[in-house]
Amino acid sequence: MNKEELTAQLKVIIKPYTTNTDAYENFTEDTDFIKDLNINSANLVDIILDIEETFDIVIENTDMERMLDVKTSVVIIETKLAAK
């Protein structure tokens, strides 16, 4: 799976958790989950669990703390997929 496909899949996962439709429509790799998409910490946990299920990977606490924007999340998912 390439970066674009991965980002597109991440966008689908995030959709039910954001209320800011403008920021969601303008989703880029610089999009910040909390600042741009108004996602709270409880919903962020749900997103991480959905990512684990979708990509069949395990996210550690230290990874989760860094997964606050699209760019970092994609890098972490790529690394986990490569290590499988």
């Binding site: 709270n40 910490s41 409880a42 919903n43 962020l44 946990v45 749900d46 669990l49």
Partner: protein
């Protein structure tokens, strides 16, 4: 952590503590009870001359026993002075009315506790053993939000 110790660690006090006794706790769930005294202030207004326990209070009782007490148990020695509790979502069904002086038993089953978020399935039964309320509660029990 023993069951009395969990209640002592709760961040609530009267008139907003809705836990009397915990009966059992383990890694997967918790059971506790609360009796809605007829002296509770909200009965004066809910409803006028017809006291019934408000759904929000039943929800709070489910969350305090089923989510917060279980979270304190699961944290164990990781419970710190700066641990905060934030109730983040509830999806409830209210099946039967709960009247003043009724004692209810809340049973909670952990769905997951990860990254500081605890999500549980909770059921409340009355003294006759009939389900009065059930649903899903979730909250953050963590040192940072």
């Amino acid at each position: 952590m023993n069951l009395n110790e969990i209640i002592k660690q709760l961040p609530y006090s009267k008139p907003f503590l809705f836990v009397d006794e915990l009966l059992h706790a383990d890694e997967n769930g918790i059971t506790g009870t609360y009796t809605f005294s007829e002296d509770l202030d909200f009965y004066k207004g809910h409803f006028k001359d017809n006291p019934v326990t408000p759904g929000v209070i039943l929800t709070e009782t489910m969350a305090q026993i089923g989510m917060v007490c279980l979270g304190i148990y699961l944290l164990g020695n990781d419970l710190k002075k700066d641990t905060v509790v934030a109730f983040t979502s509830a999806d409830m069904q209210f099946l039967k009315p709960v009247y003043p002086n009724e004692k209810v038993t809340v049973t909670s089953q952990k769905t997951f506790f990860r990254f500081g978020k605890l999500k549980c399935e909770v059921v409340m039964k009355n003294e006759a053993g009939i389900e009065v309320c059930k649903g899903i509660v979730a909250g953050m029990i963590t040192t940072k939000l």
